[in-house]
């Protein structure tokens, strides 16, 4: 843990109920610049619900979310993005019919606050187009710039998810199962992309692939039935008997 770095995301005593269902119970953790925090837990542990609350899709029932020193518990998704938060989704792609290049351009327009412009053509922003091409090149997708996203291989679509989030130049990145459904052979490019994430970025990742988790994470939070079961370094988690009992040991 690099305790010296600035706290970027601070989740404090978060609670969420759906009617009688208690899906998040008093969850707290903090994320600093450069952190690679993995959120693990069995299916139904409330991982995605938690990410949805942090990104603003769901409003928590109680507790606070601080983003770069600002309380964003009641802020809209758009405000959180502007404050430096970006996320990816488990299975969706942004716009299946758009050419890949357009997807990235759209994210860039959004970052620059240009999507309220009604008249000037979307083709008349050469700087952003160049940046979009660069991003595609970085992910090895430049040859597919004009291909409709739905025609790409599944693994490549996952890469675009990540490219979109990074195009927003976030300080905090939430990755919701980036490897889900990707065939083993296609995983290498994704792993490379994960390793190439900017150093000072704070990353929260949900993932089921334990090899990936233990290779990538600097810290792990284990969630069970909505509550934090354990929180510590990968080594500590690996040795934690409670975790072994509830999750790893099965």
């Amino acid at each position: 843990m690099n305790a010296a770095a600035e706290v970027l995301l601070d989740v404090q005593a978060l609670d969420k109920r759906f009617g009688g269902l208690h899906v998040t119970r008093n969850v707290s953790f903090a994320l600093r610049a450069g952190d690679r925090l993995a959120l693990i837990g069995p299916n139904g542990a409330g991982k995605t619900t938690l990410v949805n609350q942090i990104s603003g899709v769901l409003a928590p029932s109680a507790g606070d979310i601080w983003l770069r020193g600002e309380n964003v518990t009641r802020a809209s998704q758009a405000e959180r993005v502007r404050a430096g938060l970006a996320r990816t989704f488990q299975i969706t792609t942004l716009a299946p019919h758009f050419p890949v290049q357009r997807q990235i351009e759209l994210a860039l327009f959004e970052r620059e606050g240009l999507t309220g412009r009604l008249w000037r053509s979307m083709d008349s922003y050469p700087a952003l187009q160049a940046e979009a091409s660069d991003i595609l090149a970085r992910f090895g997708l430049r040859a597919h710039a004009a291909t409709p996203t739905q025609d790409l291989a599944y693994g490549e679509q996952r890469l675009i998810e990540m490219a979109l989030a990074l195009a927003l130049r976030p300080k905090v990145l939430l990755l919701d199962e980036p490897m889900a459904g990707v065939p083993k052979g296609d995983g290498a490019r994704l792993l490379a992309a994960l390793d190439a994430l900017p150093r000072d970025l704070a990353v929260l990742i949900i993932e089921h692939d334990m090899d990936l988790v233990f290779r990538f994470a600097t810290r792990i939070v284990v969630l069970a039935e909505g509550a934090v079961l354990a929180d510590g370094s990968p080594d500590a988690i690996r040795r934690d008997p409670a975790v072994r009992a509830a999750y790893l040991g099965g």
């Binding site: 998704q77 502007r82 996320r87 969706t92 942004l94 327009f109 999507t115 083709d123 409709p148």
Partner: protein, 337 residues
């Protein structure tokens, strides 16, 4: 050809995608399609000088369906209440001509503003909902508007319609004539200009974002788009276009009836749009033209049973989409050469 998205031939998802150069992504110039429309419109007027009434109706229907396309095709909000925007634009232009001033361009502005205002107010409520709920709420809103217009008989003439207003000459020079030359030219000019504006809108970053919302609302929200505000603005712009179409209808007909607010008009416009291909602005114009012409000819040949023709065609179009039919025809033509 207008859509910035349809850059490549869509290959089946299974096959590995062929690399496509980035240049193919660029939009067509926004003036090209409106210019073609202007030429086609003038040619139609020149070739059929005694059918200008029908041609004017096609122009107006085209503008209305264009507006509907922004909402349904671009933003992905299926509505059956679009006639409310058209009808209120028509009534506003008619009442303005009757009570305030008979100048057509001022009236056009008033009608357009009425459409935009209606969209602004109703959109603030409607756009909080999605899908089938949104669709049914648009029906409710348009029926409420219809009831109010019927009730406000002193202003609107109720079910007898609003009539008795005459338009002043266009630009102070061109009288609206019996053959409808000025009416047709006026409607065409407004249609071309608004088509150009809509084309710019669709090709702007705003248009791209709205299409993004259509494709995946949740994902766009996570990208930081204020979804509601984008849709609200789009709906208001569409309201301005629909209101302008209504105003044109009021001015060239010198009468407004409650049919301009009816469910039937909303449904008919939707049929025209799907016929021409939702999402493509030129598709909206093609659909409006084909449907209006078909209705007119089928009803002239045999006014009794034109529903057979139209009903049969609608069913056919679903199984043989126009784009596929075109592709097939082209292949056949190519094979013959």
């Amino acid at each position: 050809m207008n859509s910035p998205m349809t850059s490549t031939v869509s290959t089946a998802a299974k096959a590995p995608a062929q690399p496509v150069p980035a240049q193919a992504v660029r939009c067509a110039p926004p003036w090209r399609a409106p210019l073609l429309l202007l030429i086609a419109g003038l040619a139609a007027c020149a070739l059929f000088p005694d059918q200008l009434g029908l041609i004017t109706r096609i122009f107006i229907a085209g503008l209305f369906v264009l507006s509907l396309d922004l909402v349904v095709g671009v933003a992905g909000l299926a509505t059956l209440g679009h006639a409310a925007l058209f009808g209120l634009g028509a009534y506003a232009a008619g009442i303005f001509a009757l009570q305030v001033h008979a100048d057509p361009l001022l009236g056009l502005g008033v009608g357009s503003a009425a459409g935009a205002l209606t969209a602004l107010v109703s959109g603030a409520f409607l756009l909080r909902y999605q899908g089938f709920t949104f669709l049914m709420l648009t029906v409710a809103v348009s029926q409420i508007v219809l009831s109010l217009v019927q009730k406000a008989r002193d202003w609107t003439g109720g079910d007898d319609g609003l009539s008795g207003f005459a338009m002043a000459p266009l630009l102070g020079r061109f009288e609206f004539d019996l053959e409808g030359r000025v009416g047709a030219g006026y409607a065409l000019a407004v249609l071309v200009l608004m088509f150009y504006a809509a084309q710019r809108l669709v090709q702007s970053p705003f248009g791209l974002a709205v299409r993004g919302i259509h494709e995946n609302r949740a994902r766009m929200a996570a990208l930081g788009t204020p979804v509601f505000r984008r849709l609200w603005l789009l709906y208001t712009v569409a309201g301005a276009l629909a209101g302008a179409a209504g105003a044109l209808s009021a001015q060239t007909n010198a009468v407004v009836g409650t049919d301009s607010l009816s469910f039937a008009l909303s449904a008919e416009a939707l049929v025209m749009l799907i016929l021409g291909g939702a999402g493509q602005l030129t598709g909206a114009l093609v659909g409006a033209t084909v449907f209006t012409l078909l209705h007119h000819t089928a009803a002239s040949i045999n006014p009794y049973h034109w529903l057979f023709v139209v009903g049969g065609l609608l069913m056919l179009v679903v199984f043989v989409p126009p784009t596929r039919a075109w592709a097939w025809l082209r292949r056949r033509a190519g094979g013959l050469q």
